[in-house]
Every structure is written in C-alpha cells, then in structure tokens.
C-alpha cells in the first residue's frame, strides 16, 4: 500500500481517538483538572499544616516544675530564684512560655504521669568525676509530643542558664568571659549554588511525582482506547474497516501519548510553580531572599521535557499493552495497581543516596528517567548518558508497540469469552465451584498481597523482627487461600497439590543445585554493580535476625517461604496465568512477578530466575511439593551462610570468592548447567494419559 494512504489512515484513527478522548469528561478531568488543582492543594495544605503545627508548638504554654530541695544553694553560683526567673522569662525570639507549678518531688512524678505537668527539672547536688556539682535532670515523657517539646525548651533555657553562670564565675575571677567561652568562632557556609540546592530538593521528589503523573495521564486514555473500545462495543466496528493493525495501533498510540505528554507537561508546569512558591515561603521564614536564576534552569528543563516525551511514549505503549488484556474499565483498573507499584518502585531509585548513574543503569527503563531527572536538576550533564536514556526509551517504546500490534492480532484478546472475569467482587452464591482462578483475580490477589507486604509487612517486621517475617509469610499465603475459598476454586488444581514421583525429587534437588550455582554467580556479578542495594538487603537481614537461633531462622526464613510464597506464586498466580496465557508467557510472567515481589534491583534478577525455574518445574510436573523443596533448600543454604559463614566458606570456598577467576566462573557455569539439565531431564512428565 502507498505510504500516503497509510498515513491518511493513521491520521484518521488519531483524529478519531483524540476527538473521542477529548469529548470524555473523565479524561479531561484527569488530564487538566487534576494536575492544575492537586499540586497547589497538596503544597498549600502542607504549608498550612506545617505552619499550624509549628505555631501550635511554639506559642503554647507549658506547665513545668522545679524540684531543688536536694540542690546546694550557692554551690558554683547556684541560685534557685535566678533559675526560676530565667525559666519564666518570656524572651522575644522564643515564642513559648514556661509556667512553673510548685510540687514536691514525689507529687511531681505523679503529676507528670497524670500529664498535669509537661516536664520537670530535678536539681540535686552530687559527687561527679570533676568534684561535687549540682546536677540538673529533665524528666519528661518521650511518647508525648508536648512533653518532649517542653523538655527541649527546658534544655534550651538550661543551656542559657549554664552560660549565664559561667559568665558570672569568670567575671568574678576577673577574666574576660567572651574570650574564654568562645575562643574560636564557628560558622557554616553552603557553597553549592542556590539553583543546585533547589534542584537537589526537587530532584528527590520530582522524578517520582513526574513518573507517577505520566503514568496516571497515560492510563486513562490507554484504557479508553483499548478496553473502552471493547466495553462500548465499537471494537468490532473498527475491525470491519480496511485498516491494518499497525495503522490502528500507531494511530491509537499517538493519541494516548499526546494526552500523556500533555498531562505530563501540565503536571510539570504546575509542580514547578508550586515548588518555586514553596521554596519562597520556606526561605522567607528564614528572612532570606531567593536568588534563583530561573534562566539557569532552562537548559535542564528542556532536556527534562525531551526525556519526558520519550518516556511518555514508552509508558503509553506499556500501559496500552497491559490494558489490552482487559475487557472493561473495571477490569483495567485492577491492572492499574500492580503496574503502578512496579513503576513507582522503579522511580524510587532517585531517593537512593549517591547511586552512581552509569551507562548500564541508563538502559534500565523507568530507573533511567528517574535518575536522569534528579541528576539534571543538580546540573550534572553527561551528554552520552542522556543520549542512552533517550535512545533506550525510544527503543523500548518501539518494542512495546510491536508487542501491542501482535496482541491486537490475537483473536483471543479481541473476541475472548464474555462475562466477568473478576470473581472476587462477585456474589459468592452465583459462582460455580471448581477450576482455577481467572488471571484478573490472580492479578488482584497479587496486588493485595504486595500492598499488605509493603504496609503491614514492613511494620510488623520492624516491630517483631523474625516473628514479623513469619506474620508476613502468613499474610502472603492468607490472601490466595481466602480468595480461592471465596471463589470456590478447586484447591488441588489451583495450588498444584499433587504427589511427586520419587525420581522427580532427585530431579528437583539437582536442578536447584544447578540453578543455585548460576544464581550465586549472577548475584556476585550484579552485587558489584549495585553494592548499596546488596548492603541494604544484608543490613535488613542482620537486623531482623538479631538474637534468633539457627533452627528458628531455618523455620522462618526457609520453611515458611517455601510453603507460603510457593502457594501464592507457583500455586494461585501461576495456575491462573497458565490458563489464560501460553506456557512460556505464563512462566516468564510469574517469574518476573516473583522477582518484583522481592523489592530489590539485584534480587529482581536472581529471584526472577529462580521464579522462572520453579514455574517451569510446576508446569512440567504439576506438583508444588517439588518447588517447595527447592525453595526450602535455596533459602536454607542462605541461612547456613548467615549463621556459619566460616564453615560454609571452608566447605565451598569457590562460592565465596568476591572476584572469581575466569576458570572458576566457567567451572561454576559448567557444573551449574550440567546439574540443571540433568535435573530437568529427570523431571519428565508422566507418560501422557491416553485420550
């Protein structure tokens, strides 16, 4: 076909989509109103709240008490009246006021406990290393904000009191107090340009906000152009037209990215104005003037805009790929949560301090944009890296479009079976029992488990350490169990509960050993690239393991995940993916999901690889017990290394070398591949059941 005819068709599809989108109130609100209103609201809100809190803290009156029965009047110039006068004194620069109540020592304790007073000072003459002195102790409740604020105020006052006494004593001795108290002068001067400071402040939050807002901007139009077309029943109309899939997708894609880019630019503008305003307000509090030369920002902003466009293209294509799977708006919205989590997780990278932005990271989608924006805002230009980011984003966008065109060719997706695929929100009575969960349900369950992990899991882990880890695991198995009970699924089929053949156990152990060797190599390799990440993971582990015994650790770190994580990832999710997708796609998707779940860049690759192997084993044998065993072995080795590092290093020295030689690498790979293939060979499925 002639190129011009193709262009005309793409243009017509584009016009159709744009008109369709712009006539939809929801899109307009998402695109225009949200960015224009929400940022000012958030910023204003936080300013108002900040000043309200600060105001309430500073202008309040605090009830305190002084107990100095055991103080020695006159010792080193101690004077109870002078102290009380100083405490009571309302000075101009201090906006608070301390009111002194009279209590005895015993009643002070009770009054503090009953919160009648905010804090009290006990002055007592004691023998110290430097001789006998009056010791001032501030009693307060750290759990109460007003009490700890009062304690801070008292400390501030007492510092003044000490200075005042020193001054008096020095004068009495006939010395110059100023010279002795401050023999040297200390001051601090920030030599980074104001632009850099503003930039670094913005650089922390801007990537995250911008990436999220582009995603939000792209998401709604993407749903409208894909699932929306199915839901409104116009997809079949579209398919009757003499227009190729490529023309259709490209036209739709440009419309979605137009809205995404417009929304991103609006977000950016709105955010920028608010940031400048915010900064001005913060600065004027300190009675300083803002001397940001906005013109210095222009080149940086231009590059940001360019990257934004490239990124919006990429994210539009990805979002369209995801939403194409949905049949309705409701279903598409379920896909939003996991997508959002992945994208936001990747954009958090900008918060990692001092991460080095290398050429390799510049090729990692989302992460690269996040780092680029934060770097550019502190005026660190590296033209070759910028080019890598721009080019890779273009390439990823192109790949995503190619994938999308293929998806649109799939008649399964276009004319898939009707009816709701989200059973979790369906009344239980109307559901038929049996079968495996739908993919939509599985995505939803996964998102719920991930959210619980992020919010509840991190809290209980900090609070209960190792037991918190166990609770997290119970949450992880709880969600799919509950969901499959509610939707009346066949538990045996959903969780692949099937006894393995004895020879499979051997195969599983062998393939686990093989995969472990390869994973160890991979993580050594990746570890040198993401050292901070590895350090963070190790620190968390050590912190959680404090005071735990070996058996306890083995049960909680090795056995619990082997049961719970297997049930969610290789059970519930994989059986759902397996039903809807082709085997390879289901295996890779489940593996990737398992990698993402570990919330770490290094672990994404290593656990992702393990996840793929585990899924493959379940796919071949249909038995989750095998992967539970493999998972247990895998984690058990890690626990052994944590508890008995010397022993493990003596037994398997090659696994511990930080920079293995080429021969060692080749050896490990060879042994790994041999074990893995032998193991997989043993995992032959049962001979086909006769038809």
């Amino acid at each position: 076909m002639k190129t011009s005819a193709k262009m005309t068709k793409i243009k017509a599809i584009y016009q159709k989509e744009m008109l369709d989108l712009l006539r939809d109130k929801k899109t307009l609100i998402m695109m225009l109103v949200v960015p224009l209103i929400i940022y000012p609201l958030i910023m204003m809100g936080s300013i108002l709240m900040g000043s309200a809190i600060a105001g309430s803290l500073q202008s309040d009156e605090y009830q305190i008490a002084v107990v100095d029965d055991k103080a020695q009047e006159g010792m080193n110039g101690y004077d109870g009246h002078a102290l009380r006068a100083l405490l009571r004194d309302t000075e101009d620069e201090l906006k608070y006021h301390l009111k002194i109540e009279e209590f005895s020592e015993q009643s002070c304790k009770e009054a503090l406990a009953a919160e009648e007073i905010d804090a009290y000072i006990e002055v007592e003459a004691q023998d110290t290393e430097d001789g006998r002195k009056n010791v001032f102790t501030i009693y307060y409740l750290s759990s109460k904000t007003t009490s700890s604020t009062a304690a801070n105020m008292i400390e501030e006052k007492l510092e003044r009191y000490r200075e005042q006494v020193s001054r008096q004593l020095l004068t009495k001795l006939g010395l110059e107090p100023e010279l002795l108290l401050k023999p040297v002068e200390i001051s601090r001067s920030d030599s980074s340009a104001t632009e850099e400071r503003v930039g670094s402040m913005l650089g922390m939050i801007l990537p995250f906000l911008m990436i999220s807002s582009i995603l939000l901007g792209a998401f709604y139009p993407a749903v409208d152009a894909t699932a929306g077309e199915k839901e409104r029943g116009t997809l079949e109309t579209l398919l009757t037209l003499p227009v190729g899939n490529d023309e259709l997708i490209i036209g739709k894609f440009f419309a979605v990215s137009t809205v995404a880019v417009a929304s991103a630019v609006l977000n950016l503008v709105s955010m920028l104005f608010m940031s400048i305003y915010f900064y001005t307000v913060v600065q004027s509090d300190d009675a300083q003037t803002l001397d940001v030369e906005l013109t210095n920002f222009v080149p940086a902003l231009l590059i940001v805009v360019l990257c934004t466009v490239a990124f919006a293209l990429f994210i539009s294509a990805v979002t369209m790929c995801v939403t194409t799977f949905a049949k309705s708006f409701k279903e598409a919205n379920n896909y939003a949560t996991p997508l959002m989590l992945v994208v936001m997780f990747a954009s958090f990278v900008a918060f990692v301090p001092n991460i080095e932005f290398t050429g390799l990271l510049a090729a990692v989608p989302i992460v690269n944009i996040s780092l680029l924006i934060s770097d550019i805002l502190v005026f660190e230009y590296n033209f070759s890296i910028i080019m890598i980011v721009l080019v890779t984003n273009m390439v990823y966008a192109a790949l995503a479009i190619v994938l999308l065109i293929r998806l649109y060719n799939s008649e399964d997706l276009m004319f898939g079976e009707e009816g709701t695929s989200i059973q979790i929100f369906t009344g239980r009575g109307t559901l038929k029992s049996g079968g495996v969960p739908t993919l939509s349900d599985a995505v939803l369950v996964l998102a719920a488990a991930l959210l619980l992990l992020l919010y509840v899991g991190s809290i209980v882990q900090v609070r209960f350490l190792l037991w918190g880890l166990l609770m997290t695991q119970l949450l992880i198995i709880g969600v799919p169990l509950l969901a499959s009970w509610y939707t009346k699924k066949d538990m045996k089929e959903t969780f692949s509960i099937q006894a393995p053949k004895p020879v499979w156990v051997l195969g599983a152990v062998l393939s686990e050993i093989g995969c472990y060797l390869i994973v160890i190599l991979l993580s050594t390799l990746l570890g040198s690239l993401f050292q901070q990440d590895v350090q963070a993971v190790n620190d968390t582990m050590n912190y959680i393991l404090e005071g735990a015994g070996f058996v306890q650790a083995l049960l909680i770190i090795a056995l619990a995940p082997a049961v719970c994580e297997e049930a969610l990832f290789r059970g519930y999710f994989f059986s759902a993916a397996r039903k809807r997708l082709r085997p390879a796609a289901a295996i890779f998707l489940s593996g990737a999901v398992f990698g993402v779940y570990h919330l770490s860049l290094v672990k994404f690759f290593t656990t992702g690889l393990l996840g793929i192997l585990f899924c493959y084993v379940v796919y071949r044998t249909g038995s989750i017990f095998l992967t539970a065993l493999m998972h247990f072995l895998n984690n058990a080795v890690a626990v052994c290394v944590l508890f008995y590092p010397e022993l493990m290093e003596q037994l398997f020295p090659v696994l511990f070398s930080e920079s293995p030689s080429l021969i060692e690498i080749c050896l490990l790979v060879a042994v790994g591949v041999i074990c893995l293939s032998a193991g997989l060979w043993l995992l032959k499925p049962k001979t086909a059941v006769k038809e």
Binding site: A5, A12, T234, E236, T237, T240, L241, F415
Partner: protein, 256 residues
Amino acid sequence: MIKAENLIKTFAKTEKKSKRVEFNAVDGISIEAFDGEILGVLGPNGAGKTTLLRMLGKLMSPTEGMVTITDENGRELTQELEIKQHIGYLSGNTKLYKRFSAREMLLLLGEIYGMARKEAENRIEEIVKILDLGAFVDNRIERLSTGQSQRVSIARCLLHSPQVYIFDEPTLGLDIISSRAIIDFMKQEKSLGKTVLYSTHYMEEAEFLCDRIVMIYQGHVIAKGTPEELRAHTHTTNLRDTFLKLIEDETQGGLA
C-alpha cells in the same frame, strides 16, 4: 459476489486440569453468494454462524481456507484490506461511536475508506437523503433513539458503496419498525445488484427475504438451497419446521 472455500477455524478452549483442547468452530465450510441475491445463514446457537461471517468479513482470519470477493469491475480480491474495502458489515456487536455525531463519524470513516473529503461529504449528503437522517445527523449518537442509531449503522455500511453486505443477526432485539428499515434496506441493495449475506434466528423473516439458505450445524453445512427446495426436501410446510427437522436428523445421525 463473495466466495469462501473450505473455511476452517480452530479455537483452543480450556477444559479440566488446565488442559487446552482444540476444536473447530467452523469445520470446512464452502459458501458462495452471488450478486443480486440474499443468502441466509441459519443455524442454532453455537453452530458457528458468527465465526463464519466474521471470517468472511475478515474480522477473523481463518485457520485454513480462503475468501475471495469479486468487485463490480469483475476483479477478484483476496487481500484482507481490499476485501474489507468492499464489505459493509453489520452485527449486534458493531456499535457506534457515541461521543460523535453521525456526520463526524461518517467523515472520519470516509477518510479511512480512502475517500477524498469532498467525495465523502457528497456521499454523506446522499445517504442522509436516502435514509432520512436529516433531523439528527449532527446530534451526538449517544442522544439518538434505538431506531435512529440503527439507521446511522446502516449509513455506516452504505458509506463506501460496498459490493457485499454481511449482516449478522441485524434485527436481533429490534422492534418491528427498526427491523423494517433494515429489511427494506437489504431488499433495496439486492435490487441494485449487490450481494447480501444474512444470518438470523427469525425463520419467518428468512423465509420471505432469502433467495437461498445455507443451514449450519456444529461447524458444517447440513443443507443448502432455496426455501422451497429445503421445504420440499424435508417434507415440511414452513421454514421453522424445516429447520427443526434438519437439526433432528443431524442429531439422530450423530447418535447412530
């Protein structure tokens, strides 16, 4: 004229134990419809009518077999986009773009059909007169009544003056007046020498409308001919009984 040879469409469906089983929704159907005739495609639910018509309209690609269209100049076309260019396809699932007015939608579609702007505008004026859309052609489609949007749907099929019309249960769920518009339209186009393929569950409608009928069951053609021939063959007096008799014979044959 439209012709299909040995069309097969294989679908995969998931049965117990997540096993994917393949089956042929359309299992080797050959069919041809000539210029100036209305060909009825009848069959019970799940017989494969919609899949067959979708393959003929190139909405789906057949697993095997080929579709050929002969245009008004006698050229034989087999390419997907060429075929779509010469087909007007209407089904219960071909909804309209509700946020557009009929005129806006038709203009955009005209562009996709490769019509010049002026040409499309003139054609739309013509269609507005033929189908009497004048009163609402500039209103948004979401505000139109069922009957009005049905006429816009016909306008959509008519826009590019196709040689072949494929109508998949076009009168399903419509009142007498709205179905009347579609039936009249099919008769009109037939008299203009166009080819019309038409599937329905309304036997009376098919009986007086169709020149020939193809009866489909479980992906196969079980009978074809004029309504009279089919009635005579099965010794029945109306098409409803013919239909039941044919299905009955087929099920018993299958059991035997």
